[in-house]
Subunit: 221 residues, 2 copies
Amino acid sequence: MTAPDWISAFPGLKTLEPSVAGPLIETSKVVRLPAGTKIFGPGQAPEAYLMLVEGTVRVQQVSDTGREIVLYRVSAGESCALTTACLMGYEEYQAEGIAETDVEAVAIPRGTFDDLIARSAAFRKFVFTAFSIRITNLFRVIEEIAFSRMDVRLAQKLVELGGVSGHIDLTHQQLAAELGTAREVISRLLNEFQRRGWITTSRGAIDLARPEALRQLAAAP
Amino acid sequence: MTAPDWISAFPGLKTLEPSVAGPLIETSKVVRLPAGTKIFGPGQAPEAYLMLVEGTVRVQQVSDTGREIVLYRVSAGESCALTTACLMGYEEYQAEGIAETDVEAVAIPRGTFDDLIARSAAFRKFVFTAFSIRITNLFRVIEEIAFSRMDVRLAQKLVELGGVSGHIDLTHQQLAAELGTAREVISRLLNEFQRRGWITTSRGAIDLARPEALRQLAAAP
DNA sequence: CAGCCTCTGTGACTAGGTCACAGACCACTC
DNA sequence: GAGTGGTCTGTGACCTAGTCACAGAGGCTG
């Protein structure tokens, strides 16, 4: 059996020993999920360790008042550490994972996962790295929520999302969910940015007119 | 070599195979740190995997304006997952770990750690569990910071700290650090609780007069 | 007792979250 | 082209939380 092409999507797995890659390839299945699928969440847990080949998964929390906050995204080439924690089932948690795009993932059954962890240093490193990165990331999220001003966080987010084109296709509500705040707050801040000539807004979209001004605010102490 | 008494402090390690427990015991060192020691933090990383035999370690973040927030505590019988993430060094993070009491810990050198992970399912489970619990915990912290009212969070914390005696030896400043808010906010809320007859306060201490009332507020939606 | 440090209380102000509601924009149908 | 319903945005009023400045109170030490 030759390695299917998905394995090349994971830089961390290139160095897998053949005796290890064999079972991995044989027992794991490629699954496809349409955009919008709730992959895990309260009352819905996966039965396998998932590694993303294609697409992105958004992990978020929802409050009982309906406010949302995006904790992080898992993108192609990464494993979903949360699924692992979920798999182990040591404690309940109520975040949810949602396919943002059509998603292609490799599902590794629990038995194979345990076996690979036991036998392959490369695979262990791959899994542990994912865990570490997640924890690090959550630390940053906590720091921002707890200590950063909302205008600074919004400016950061706009710069991040604007990319090269400076065009962002998101509603105020979606931006609010990214930052864990209310839609009205985003609307007011965007108005202020627009008043200063930093952005232009239209229904469901934002264009960055002066990204460098946003960047400067984003870097504020 | 017989097992030293520290190993009995870790329920997760009782079932270790002798061939695994041997190297663990031989190469690891018991270290003692006085209360207040900064175990890790910006510019100070540990060189070994740490498991706490005695005492507690507080992991917290400090903002540039001086506000603090306690993320979690590691207590006796637990391993410091953060140290692991730190060890792996895949990314920087700037939380700090501080010995709250005098601490006795077992330091496992990196090589032994890797070896144990490779050879012992029990040890792997021990380490992964610590990771999972931490991630779960951080999720809860984020949810509370992002979505919960401060009076509810304070009531929860008071009930949690009050224990059976209902007596708490903390200053307003220390409570503020627990919850990641400002001292004045705590002072005002405590005044309000006292006005309602739920608590009595004195310099550096709080007594719960009606814990059930606090519990009810803490359980608020 | 005086001096000093820590802890607590308070008013004024700003930022952020909630609520209610009014328009504006868009797609679709008739 | 007019009507209709759904989504998106704007706004005022109000409340909670965080910041700043400063005043006392409590407790310890020389």
